[in-house]
């Protein structure tokens, strides 16, 4: 929550200072968006991207079940 005191102080700034504040905040917001992945941190990936053999076994089982039912 932005305090009324801070808002009042910002309002007192001259035009150039106000533009500098806008630029500063816009840069910080952009940095936060692009720095979501921190260097050195570990981010687990729960996706079986190379489970090709498992996929084959599963599809064979599904086909066998379909054949049995028909």
């Amino acid at each position: 929550m932005v305090s009324t005191e801070l808002v009042e102080q910002l309002r007192k700034l001259n035009r150039v200072d106000k533009l500098q504040i806008i630029q500063l905040l816009a840069t910080e917001l952009a940095d936060e968006e692009t720095n979501l992945i921190k260097p050195g941190a570990s981010y687990p990936v729960w996706s079986p991207i190379e489970a090709v053999e498992a996929a084959k076994v599963m599809l064979d089982a599904l086909n066998a079940e379909t054949t049995k039912e028909s």
């Binding site: 729960w46 079986p48 498992a54 996929a55 599809l59």
Partner: protein, 140 residues
């Protein structure tokens, strides 16, 4: 009957803004006489569908009865996985059979992957609009 169902991407963490939107798809799974409403993550990079352990239990599946072992990859390689075939109902579409790697991992999302979700449904992503559309596969 409308042959296309449209869904919105779901924000999962407001502090992450645009980066947190994910394509979660609601569907109902049926196994024997049980059914469970679930939310699946559409993962085009995943080779297989993955069912978290707890969801399988809630569907009434018995781990020991599933005898086909599967070897998953990545972070899931450390957990035992077994094959489980269930029926799935999505929107107004006809029921389809989905084959899952039922993993003992509990912290994973329910993943809808290439085998065989994306073999049953065509999905079109409109990420810039935070929308995606699902259509049953076309019979050739």
């Amino acid at each position: 009957m409308n042959s296309r169902a449209r869904y919105s991407f779901t924000p999962t963490d407001t502090s992450l803004g645009e980066a947190s939107f994910k394509p979660y798809l609601p569907l109902t799974l049926h196994y024997r006489n049980n059914s469970q409403e679930v939310i699946g993550l559409l993962d085009t990079g995943a080779m297989v569908n993955v069912l978290p352990y707890q969801v399988g239990i809630e569907l009434g599946a018995v781990w020991e009865e599933q005898t086909t072992m599967l070897q998953l990859t990545g972070n899931m390689a450390q957990f035992e996985a077994r094959l489980l075939i269930v029926s799935a109902l999505l929107g107004q579409f006809s029921s389809v059979r989905l084959v899952f790697a039922w993993t003992q991992a509990t912290q994973v999302p329910l993943i809808l992957g290439q085998a065989n979700f994306f073999m049953e449904f065509d999905v079109c992503f409109y990420r810039s609009q935070k929308l995606f559309e699902v259509t049953p596969k076309q019979s050739l």
